[in-house]
């Protein structure tokens, strides 16, 4: 893992550090740029993810949309990684949580993951052509919005950290998935790559990465005023205790 810091005044230094793609922070605040990656088991070479190694079912289709039982985890294009900053010092004061908007649709596959902060208002609109009975029984975030007519909007306030599955009475799969983070600086990285958390109050933080399937990670991070902080964080099964 790597944490770098560069000031906005030092453009050249920022370019060298790889911060050039990050949005500049508002005066007195910071931008944190996080490079997210995922690693397979230490014995699995990256080529095996898309290659033809028979040890891992290499003869089967592993393309992004494949439903083959042997389709492999796409470590180089992992989706739904949630990144957030947890304040560790009094000076890293929270700002107001941003509102989140979700379009509710029935689907035969898992809906995309949306991130929200604790305390955020989540506006949900029935984007289907028939009524939906919208509710959740997720721990700490249970709600019942009743029946929503097509186009109707209802709101819910995210209360507890964790994954919230929004359900419709007539569908087995969730119609929305919301990860509630205990932080107002939260973003979803759709594929390993770069995600930026903007206008971070200067101070000490723990940077967290969470994924629905792979073990997450965290590391310390300091945000300085008028600076771009850059960090690398990776997810992988090798983070877990290995049982012989």
């Amino acid at each position: 893992m790597r944490v770098l810091l560069c000031t906005t005044a030092s453009v050249l230094a920022g370019l060298l550090a790889g911060c050039h793609a990050a949005p500049a922070p508002s005066p007195g605040l910071a931008t944190v740029v996080v490079d997210v990656s995922a690693r397979p088991h230490e014995r699995v070479k990256p080529r095996r993810e898309s290659g033809s190694d028979p040890l891992y079912g290499g003869g089967y289709d592993s393309s992004p949309g494949s439903r083959s039982a042997y389709a492999r985890v796409r470590y180089t294009a992992l989706e739904d990684v949630v990144i957030w900053l947890a304040p560790q010092s009094a000076d890293a004061a929270e700002k107001r949580a941003d509102a989140v908007e979700i379009e509710l649709r029935r689907s035969k596959s898992e809906p995309p993951l949306v991130a929200a902060s604790c305390g955020a208002t989540v506006r949900m609109r029935n984007a289907s052509e028939t009524p939906m009975v919208v509710y959740s029984v997720s721990e700490g975030n249970a709600f019942d919005l009743g029946s929503l007519a097509p186009g109707e909007v209802a709101t819910w306030t995210a209360r507890a950290p964790g994954l919230v599955e929004v359900l419709d009475e007539s569908q087995e799969l969730p119609i929305a998935r919301v990860f509630v983070a205990p932080s107002c600086w939260v973003a979803v990285c759709r594929a390993p790559g770069r995600v930026a958390l903007r206008d971070v109050v200067p101070g000490q933080y723990r940077l967290h990465a969470w994924h629905p399937r792979l073990p997450g990670a965290e590391l310390p991070l300091t945000a300085e005023p008028d600076s771009l902080s850059s960090a690398d964080i990776w997810l992988g099964v090798d983070r877990l205790p290995h049982l012989p």
Binding site: Y56, A69, A71, L214
Partner: protein, 221 residues
Amino acid sequence: MAGPCLLGAAAGVACGALQALAGASREASAGMVAGTVSIAAQAGQADSSQAPKLPEIVVYLEPVAEGVTFELPSEPARVGQRGAKFNPATLVIAAGQRVEFLNDEIDPIEHNVFSESPGNSFNLGLFPPGESRGVVFERPGTVRLYCSIHRYMDGVVFVAPTPFFAQPDANGRYEIKGVPPGQYLLKTWQKRPRYKDQSIPVTIDAADAESKSINVELSRT
């Protein structure tokens, strides 16, 4: 002694683990809890034929007192991995029980088994067909299983606090046999939560010869 209660492959009213624990010395004082699990009718629902399907659910007993111990099945539970699928996809065991994960693929395909579930996180590494690796699950709760290689290979172990659990049949009926006298909470667990889980006090008296009848109604609110 019978094996653990395996769910998913064949739903039954009673669990093997419970029958196994109802030994001769315990028969005289053990009780039974039985009943039906149903979904509460919702507003606008005209008749019972419109009732939603019962989700994959487990009914189990949790002792009110702390530190109560129960006899566990001597044989470990087993989970296969053929076809890049955990089999059974849902396994219910009692806390303290061992589970053996067997790579029973026909082709030489390796698998990994790991979980990040709180209190029960582990990583068994990669292992080839014919090899088995085991885990003892000490902490009650839901353990989500994954393979770090195969995208859709996932399963669930529900670790019940006691060996007294059952999976309702297609009509929602369940039976939990061989329950020692004591105070319990009858609780529900859903593989994919769709309704609020229930918790109902139950007392099994030493003199109880007949079963306690407890019906459980699930609702979204």
